[in-house]
């Protein structure tokens, strides 16, 4: 019995990890293409979810709302690149990081100004009910929705991996990530590329927003999901998509297990800081994360 309970908790953790991974993916995309750690990704997730759910509640058809929200996110992405990033193009990463913190607050204020600040429930037509045949056979109840979310995440990752490796724009993106000046030198339209990247990140934020929206409801707390993505990226490394997924799963699993097994001894509620401690401990041994390359200070 003990073991089945363990599997259930583990599965729950892994699936929660998928949600983290989805958010982390947005961070990786932007970091890969522009070297910017976009702290505002969380706010974009919240903005996307809020826009979508407000439109559906206003009676818009599901797919129409989806397309419009996506368009809104693409526009937001382009505007961000144009207004915030272009003037700061060769500043230190720490400056860009602080600029995205500013962006986070702008987005939060904006979304609550436009759509109001009441929380909204979100329904995607996928019941959040455990799978029958699994719960009967091994008495392990894993919610259908979690599996659906995992499926969506898997598809998304596959599409993005293909996009980065195979397509022409993908290759250009990787070139830009390595060295802006060099990419410009060979004629890659840097601003154009960045706009695409931010648009794709907007799309990923939308998907993450929907998934999180269903699970925790669409409300202000969603922006803090970005804080959780930070340890995921530390583990998985900032440049690798695979790393984001693996990191997400690890953080999801360890957090859930710690909550269930470790929590009672220390008064519970440790999921707020446990992920950071894991990331910290990991960072002390491998500062460049699982898949990142070793950082050499050339003098």
């Amino acid at each position: 019995m003990e073991f089945v309970f363990f599997v259930e908790v583990l599965a729950g953790g892994l699936l929660a990890g998928v949600m983290y991974a989805l958010v982390a993916l947005g961070f990786v995309l932007i970091y890969k293409a522009s070297g910017v750690f976009n702290f505002a990704q969380g706010a974009m997730v919240f903005f996307a979810a809020l826009t979508f759910v407000s439109l559906t509640e206003a009676g818009w058809n599901f797919w129409l709302a989806l397309v419009v929200t996506l368009a809104a996110m693409v526009l937001l992405g382009i505007a961000t690149e144009r207004v915030v990033l272009r003037p700061l193009v060769n500043q230190a990463p720490i400056t860009l990081f602080m600029a995205t913190i500013g962006l986070t607050f702008v987005l939060e204020g904006l979304s609550q100004m436009i759509w109001g600040s009441q929380p909204h429930g979100l329904e995607l037509g996928v019941p959040d009910v455990p799978m029958e045949w699994l719960s009967q056979r091994w008495n392990v109840n894993i919610s259908q929705f979690d599996l659906f979310a995992a499926l969506v995440a898997g598809v998304l990752v596959a599409v993005l991996a293909l996009f980065f490796q195979k397509t022409r724009i993908g290759r250009a993106l990787r070139a830009v990530a390595d060295d802006h000046q060099a990419a410009l030198a060979v004629g890659i339209p840097l601003q154009h590329i960045w706009a695409i990247v931010w648009a794709v990140a907007g799309f990923v934020a939308l998907v993450a927003g929907l998934m999180w929206g269903v699970r925790n409801g669409v409300q202000y707390a969603l922006t803090f999901v970005a804080l959780k993505a930070l340890p995921v990226l530390i583990l998985g490394g900032f440049e690798s998509i695979l790393g984001a997924i693996v990191g997400g799963l690890i953080i999801g699993a360890t957090e859930k297990l710690a909550e269930v097994y470790l929590g009672p001894f220390v008064g519970g509620g440790i999921e707020s800081w446990f992920a950071y401690v894991v990331a910290l401990v990991f960072l002390l041994f491998r500062p460049e994360g699982l898949f990142g390359e070793k950082i050499i200070d050339r003098v």
């Binding site: 509620g269 800081w273 960072l283």
Partner: protein, 358 residues
């Protein structure tokens, strides 16, 4: 225009190294201190003293602490509020558990506790750099709050987790009115600002800035990386701790851990960025701006709604405030990365060169 520097020559290095080498600056700072210490408590009303000036001083101190760490030593920190919490709660416990301890000693001891916590969460900075460090300080932010909520000892087992700051008395003289509390805060902040200024213009400050600008070159010149970074964390957390203690004892009176949330850490980071990274004056300007701006916004929205007759709801104003803060961060990072302090410095240089162009 106002400066008459002809004839102010330096004949000793002590004169050349002083904080305000120009006479006009010394006069200005003397007047400012006189106004702050004498005029304001005498004429200031309760609301201004208690709700605006005292918090302004407290947040200036916290911003000063963060500026030492992020502005001077270049180590990003998102956990200033947590160190303030440590300061607040430890002062409460020291006064509670050591009868008769002078309040100032309690502040210092609480500051030292915050410094200790700062060092613990500063250890990762030895191996990791830049915004990775945000993780370490975020861990501090969440972990410290979690401990203060969970471990009853800190809040003397109060069910709601809220603590009430004890009465402040030094040598029998009770600081109970807003004016007296303001004066105590002002004295502590002024003294610590002076200490910070002295620190930043001597070897420690230069070591911090060397580590910030180019750490490889710093170690080649002989600066011990680990010791310098941890010292920066310790001093920064000490300042935040004392700020937290003042926050509880001379401002709010009753506090609970949630008051020192991540949002407060962000606000203090805003103060440093807008006020001026790497400048003592910048911390004060930033704190002043972040505290006065919402008040100004409310007045403006009241005035606008009066003018146009449209009622602007409180929610809209608070959202507007958040948007404008975020927008200002971006504006300052683009237009003037060194914030209000650099604008102030440029204005001063223009006055010194008047009528010639800058």
């Amino acid at each position: 225009m106002l400066y008459r520097e002809a004839g102010q020559f330096k004949s000793t290095y002590a004169q050349d190294q002083q904080i305000f080498p120009i006479l006009q600056d010394r006069v200005a700072i003397a007047i400012l201190l006189a106004v702050a210490f004498l005029l304001v408590p005498a004429f200031g009303n309760q609301y201004w003293l208690g709700a605006i000036l005292t918090p302004f001083l407290i947040f200036s101190l916290a911003a000063l602490g963060l500026n030492i760490l992020t502005g001077y030593a270049g180590q990003l920190s998102l956990g200033t509020a947590a160190f303030m919490a440590v300061g607040a709660f430890m002062t409460y416990n020291f006064v509670l558990r050591i009868p008769g301890i002078p309040i100032l000693a309690a502040f210092v001891l609480a500051g030292l506790c915050a410094a200790a916590v700062g060092i613990v969460f500063g250890l990762p900075s030895v191996r990791i750099k830049g915004f990775y460090l945000a993780v370490a300080t975020l861990a501090a932010q969440f972990f410290v709050l979690w401990v203060l909520q969970r471990v009853g000892w800190f809040s003397n087992y109060s069910t709601s987790g809220v603590i009430t700051a004890q009465e402040i008395a030094i040598l029998g003289y009770r600081f109970d009115t807003p004016a007296k509390k303001y004066l105590l805060t002002l004295a502590v902040v002024a003294a610590m600002a002076l200490l910070a200024k002295n620190l930043m213009r001597s070897e420690t400050g230069r070591a911090f800035m060397a580590v910030r600008d180019m750490d490889v070159a710093a170690s080649v010149v002989g600066i011990p990386m680990m010791k310098t970074k941890l010292l920066a964390f310790a001093i920064s957390s000490f300042y935040a701790g004392v700020a937290g203690a003042l926050h509880a004892f001379t401002y709010l009176g009753t506090v609970e851990p949630e008051a020192y949330s991540l949002d407060l850490s962000f606000r203090i980071l805003f103060m440093v960025i807008i006020g001026g990274v790497g400048s003592i004056l910048g911390s004060f300007l930033g704190a002043g701006f972040i505290i006065l701006f919402p008040i100004f916004l409310n007045l403006a929205s009241g005035w606008v709604s009066g003018l146009f007759g449209v009622e602007i709801s409180f929610a809209v104003v608070s959202n507007l405030e958040v948007i404008i803060f975020g927008g200002l961060i971006i504006f300052f990072l683009i237009a003037e990365p060194h914030g209000l302090a650099r604008l102030w410095q440029i204005a001063k240089e223009k006055l010194r060169l008047w009528p010639f162009p800058h």
